[in-house]
Amino acid sequence: MNVPIMRLFGAIVLLFAILVAWTSRWSVFEAQALRDNALDKRPLFAALSVKRGAIRAADGSVLARSVRARRGDIWERDYPTGSLFGHPVGYANLISGQLSGLERSRNDELSGTTSELNSIIDQLQGKRRGGNTVVTTLDPRAQRVATDALAGQKGAVVALDPRSGAVKTLVSSPGYDPNRVRDPDQLRALNQDSANAPLFDRVTQGAYPPGSTFKVVTAAAALDSGEVTPDAPVLDGDSPRIVSGTPLRNDHGVSRGQIDLTEALTYSVNTAFAGLGETLGKRTMADYMKRFGFYARPPLDYPDDQLVASGERGPDGRLLPVTSPQVDVGRMAIGQDKLTVTPLQMAMVAAAVANGGKLMKPHLTDRVVDPDGRTVKTIEPEQMSQPISAETASQLTQMMGNVVEEGTGTAVQLPGIDVAGKTGTAETDPARDITQPWFIAFAPASDPQIAIAVTVENTQNGFGGTVAAPIARDVLATLLGG
C-alpha cells in the first residue's frame, strides 16, 4: 500500500499548495484591490479612531478640532467658528469619505499618517498616535471684517502678504457651516442649492470677468516690455474706437485725446488700453499673463479640484490660448472678451506688483505641529516667478497710487496709509445694468504688507470704486491696524 500512500500525500501537498496560492492571492497579489473596496470599513474605522489634528488660525485660535463622538469609540470633527472659516478650512466627513479645503489638502498631516517610524515608537510606548496640528496664516479678525463687509452679498475677498505669499483672509460668500456637513442630508441640501452655491469657493473657483482690474496686467506688460513709459503721451484716448470691427466706448463716451499710461490707468480709459493691447500683441500679452500665473492653477495648498486657472475660455469652458484667432486682444486688454479670472489670481497680480515684481507662492499653512508641540514642518516663503522688473513694479505702484488718490478708487483712502489699487466693473448683463464690481489693491504703497482682491457678483449698477473698494478698505484697515 506504499505507492498509493505516497500518491495520496502528493495530492495533499497539492491541496496545501492551493491554500498557499489563495492566501497569497488575497494577502498580497489582490490585496490593494481589496483594501480599496468600499465595503471594507477597516481603513475608515482606523481613521475614525485616530484623533485628527486641529486646524488653527495664525493667532492660535481653533478653527477645527476633534471631539469624542457621542456614540462609538471614535472622534468626530467640530468647527468652533462655524461658517466663518468654512471655505479655507473646509470639512472632513470621514464616514462618507468627503473632504474639502485644508482638511483635504493637509489630510496626511492631520490624520497622522505621515510618520510610520513615530507610530511604531508610540505603539511600543503604549501611546495612541494622533494627527498633527496645522497652524494656518489666517487672521480671524480680518476674516470676520471681510465677512461682515460683504454683508451676505455673493462675492469673494482674499488678502495675502505679498512678501511671503501667506494668505490672511479668504472669504467666499455665502459661506456654509462645516458642522452641518456631518449630516448627509444637510450636505446634499448644500450641494443642491445652485442659486447660492454655498460650497463653491468663489476665491479659488469663481471664474469671473475681471473688468478693468486686468488693465494692471496690460500696463505691466507695456512698461516691462519697454513699449511705453508712464508719462509718454502716446496712447489714443478718443472714443469710440473700432476694436476687432466693433466700436468700443469709454465710460460716458468721453474722448480724452493723446494721453500717457498714468492717466489712462488713473481714469481707466478703455480705448487707450484696447489700443495698447493691440500694439503689444497676443504673444506679449500671453507671455506676461503666464508670468503672473494665468493659465495654471495657483499653487495654493488647497485641493486641486477646488482651484481653477484664469485665462480666456472658449464656449466649451476650456482654456483658450491668447494666441487663438477667437481672442479679441484689444478687449482682453481691458478685461473683457472671454477672459475669466479668480479673485485669488487678481490678488496675486496685486501682490507681485507690491513685492517689487516678485510673485511669492501663496499658501494657507504656516506650520505643522505634532501632538507633543514640536514643529515638524514650516512653510518657508518661496518665490513663484518674477513677472516684472523692480522698476516696472515701482512705476506701477506709483500709477496705482494715483488711482486711489484722484482716480476711480478714492473710496479706499485710509487716513495715514497710502493705498495703491485698481477698480474694475465688469458688465455681466448690460441690458439690465447688472455689473460685477472689482477692486485689487495693496498697502502701504511705500512698504507693502497686504495685497487684496475683492469682488461682488451681480450688483445693480454697482461700481468697483463704490461697492468693492470700501470692503477692501475695511479689511486693509483691520490687517494693517492690528
Binding site: M1, N2, V3, P4, I5, M6, R7, L8, F9, I12, V13, L15, F16, I18, L19, V20, W22, T23, S24, R25, W26, S27, V28, E30, A31, Q32, L34, R35, N37, L39, D40, K41, R42, F45, A46, L48, S49, R71, G72, D73, I74, Q123, L124, Q125, G126, K127
Partner: protein
C-alpha cells in the same frame, strides 16, 4: 539521539513561541508594565512547558518508540492557537488552556486504555453505529444547538457545546480502516469493467456505501457541509490506499460532483453558500450571507505579507459590532493572516503539512494493513479538515464551519484531535518497536 530526546528538543521552539507570543500581545495592549510583561508571559510559557514536559515524560514511559515529531508539532500548533485565542479574549484563552489540560488527560487515557489498539477492529460495527448516533444527536429536540443554520452541536449546560462530528470522524476512519483491511483484496479481485470503467463488486462495497451514505445523509440533515466534504474525502482516500484503484476515486468524485450539483440547486442553505462562494464581494449580500467571507478576505488583505502583529487586527468596529465574525473558531485563519501575514500563515500550513507527513510516515512503517489504513486515514482526515476550513476562509471552496485543528477555540475539537494524536502515536510505537527489535 534517541527518539524521545529529539522530541524534548522539539518542545523548545513551542515554548519559546508561546512566551514570545504572549509578550507580543501584552505589548500591543500596552496595559502592563515591563515587569508584569516579562512575568506574565514567562508564567504562561512556563506552565505550557510544564504541561508539555509532563506529556513528554508520559510518552517516554508509555510509548518510547513512537514518532518523535508528532507531539512537538502539535505543541507548536496548540501554543500558537492559545496565543491567537488569548489575543481575541483572555477568558476564552483560559478555557482553551483548560481544554488543553483535559485534552492531554484524554490523550494519556487513550494511550493507557487502547494500548492494544487492534482491539478496535472487533468493535467496528459498534463504532460505526456509535459514530452515526453521534451525528444524529444535534437534531434531537431539546439538546441540539443550531449555529448559523447548521445543527453542529449538543448543548451540555455549563460546560460546552459538544460537537459530535469531531469524534464521529475518528469513529468512521476506524471503521473504514478495519472494514477495508478485510475486503480490500476482494474489492480489487472482484472488480468488473463496465463501459471501460473498473467498478467494485457491490456485495463487498455495499456495507461501505451504506455507512458512507448514511453519514452523508446525516450531514445534509444536520447541514454540516464542511464535515461532509471532509468525511467523503477521507472515504475516497482510504478506498484508494486500500485498493490502489484510481478509478474508484474517479467514480467517487463523479458521484460527489453530481450530488453537489443537485444540492447546490435545490437546498436553499447550500444555494446561498455557493452563491456567496462564486461572488464573495457582492454588495447586496455583504450585510447578510456574504459578511463572513468578505471580511475574511478583507482581513487577509489587511495583513499583507508580514501582518499587523499580534493584537493588530481589527476584530470589532468602533461601535462594538463584530467586524470579523467567529474569529476564534471558523475564521481564525483569516485572523492569522491578518496578524502574522502570509509568511506566518504559510508557516502554520507548513506545520500542518509536516504533521501529515509524519502521519503518513507512520502508515508506511506500520506492519499490518489495519495499522497502515488507520494511520493513513487519520492523517488524511486531519489534512482534509485543514483544507476544508482554510480553503473555505480563502474562498477556494464554499466556507463551512469546521475548526482548524489545535488552533481554533473549542473543547470538542481539542479533545478529538488529541485522541487522533494518541492513535497515531500508538500505531507508530507499535511499528517502530517491531523495527527496533
Amino acid at each position: 539521539m534517541s527518539a524521545r530526546n529529539r522530541e524534548l528538543l522539539g518542545l523548545i521552539p513551542a515554548s519559546l513561541l508561546v512566551t514570545a507570543g504572549f509578550a507580543a500581545v501584552f505589548i500591543e495592549r500596552g496595559s502592563l508594565s515591563q515587569n508584569q510583561l516579562s512575568e506574565a508571559s514567562l508564567t504562561y510559557g512556563a506552565i505550557f512547558l510544564g504541561l508539555c514536559l509532563a506529556a513528554h515524560v508520559f510518552l517516554r514511559i508509555a510509548l518510547p518508540h513512537a514518532d518523535p515529531y508528532l507531539f512537538p508539532l502539535v505543541a507548536v500548533l496548540a501554543c500558537f492557537g492559545l496565543v491567537m485565542v488569548y489575543r481575541i479574549d483572555d477568558t476564552l484563552a483560559r478555557q482553551q488552556a483548560q481544554w488543553f489540560v483535559v485534552g492531554l488527560l484524554l490523550f494519556m487515557a487513550t494511550i493507557v486504555f487502547l494500548r492494544d489498539y487492534r482491539k478496535l477492529e472487533q468493535y467496528r460495527y459498534l463504532i460505526a453505529a456509535g459514530s452515526l448516533a453521534l451525528l444524529c444527536l444535534p437534531r434531537l429536540p431539546g439538546i441540539g444547538a443550531q449555529v448559523n443554520g447548521a445543527y453542529l452541536g449538543i448543548r451540555i449546560p455549563g460546560v460546552m457545546i459538544f460537537q459530535p462530528t469531531e469524534f464521529a470522524k475518528l469513529g468512521i476512519v476506524v471503521f473504514l480502516a478495519s472494514y477495508l483491511r478485510d475486503t480490500r483484496q476482494v474489492l480489487v479481485v472482484g472488480a468488473r469493467r463496465i463501459l471501460g470503467v473498473t467498478v467494485p463488486p457491490l456485495k463487498h462495497f455495499g456495507p461501505l456505501l451504506a455507512v458512507w451514505g448514511m453519514a452523508m445523509l446525516l450531514l445534509i440533515v444536520i447541514r454540516d457541509l464542511g464535515s461532509s466534504l471532509m468525511f467523503f474525502g477521507a472515504f475516497l482516500a482510504l478506498v484508494y490506499v486500500a485498493t490502489n484503484r484510481l478509478s474508484f476515486v474517479v467514480i467517487g468524485l463523479v458521484l460527489f460532483g453530481l450530488g453537489g450539483w443537485y444540492l447546490s440547486t435545490t437546498v436553499p442553505h447550500v444555494i446561498d453558500r455557493v452563491d456567496v462562494w462564486m461572488d464573495p464581494l457582492n454588495v447586496h449580500r455583504y450585510d447578510t450571507e456574504g459578511f463572513q467571507i468578505a471580511n475574511s478576505l478583507f482581513a487577509q488583505a489587511d495583513g499583507g505579507l508580514f501582518g499587523r502583529g499580534f493584537g493588530g487586527a481589527m476584530l470589532r468596529t468602533p461601535y462594538d459590532a463584530p467586524l470579523l465574525p467567529a474569529a476564534e473558531t471558523d475564521l481564525i485563519y483569516a485572523l492569522i493572516v491578518n496578524e502574522v501575514g502570509l509568511v506566518g500563515a504559510v508557516a502554520v500550513l507548513a506545520t500542518y503539512l509536516l504533521f501529515v507527513q509524519r502521519g503518513f510516515k507512520v502508515a508506511l512503517l506500520a506492519r499490518d494493513s489495519f495499522s497502515t489504513l488507520l494511520a493513513a486515514g487519520l492523517s488524511a482526515v486531519f489534512a482534509l479538515q485543514v483544507f476544508v476550513i482554510v480553503g473555505g476562509v480563502t474562498n477556494v471552496i464554499p466556507l463551512t464551519g469546521v475548526t482548524l485543528p489545535f488552533i481554533s477555540y473549542g473543547g470538542s475539537s481539542i479533545l478529538a484531535n488529541f485522541v487522533l494524536l494518541a492513535l497515531l502515536l500508538l500505531v507508530s510505537d507499535s511499528a517502530r518497536r517491531g523495527a527496533a527489535r
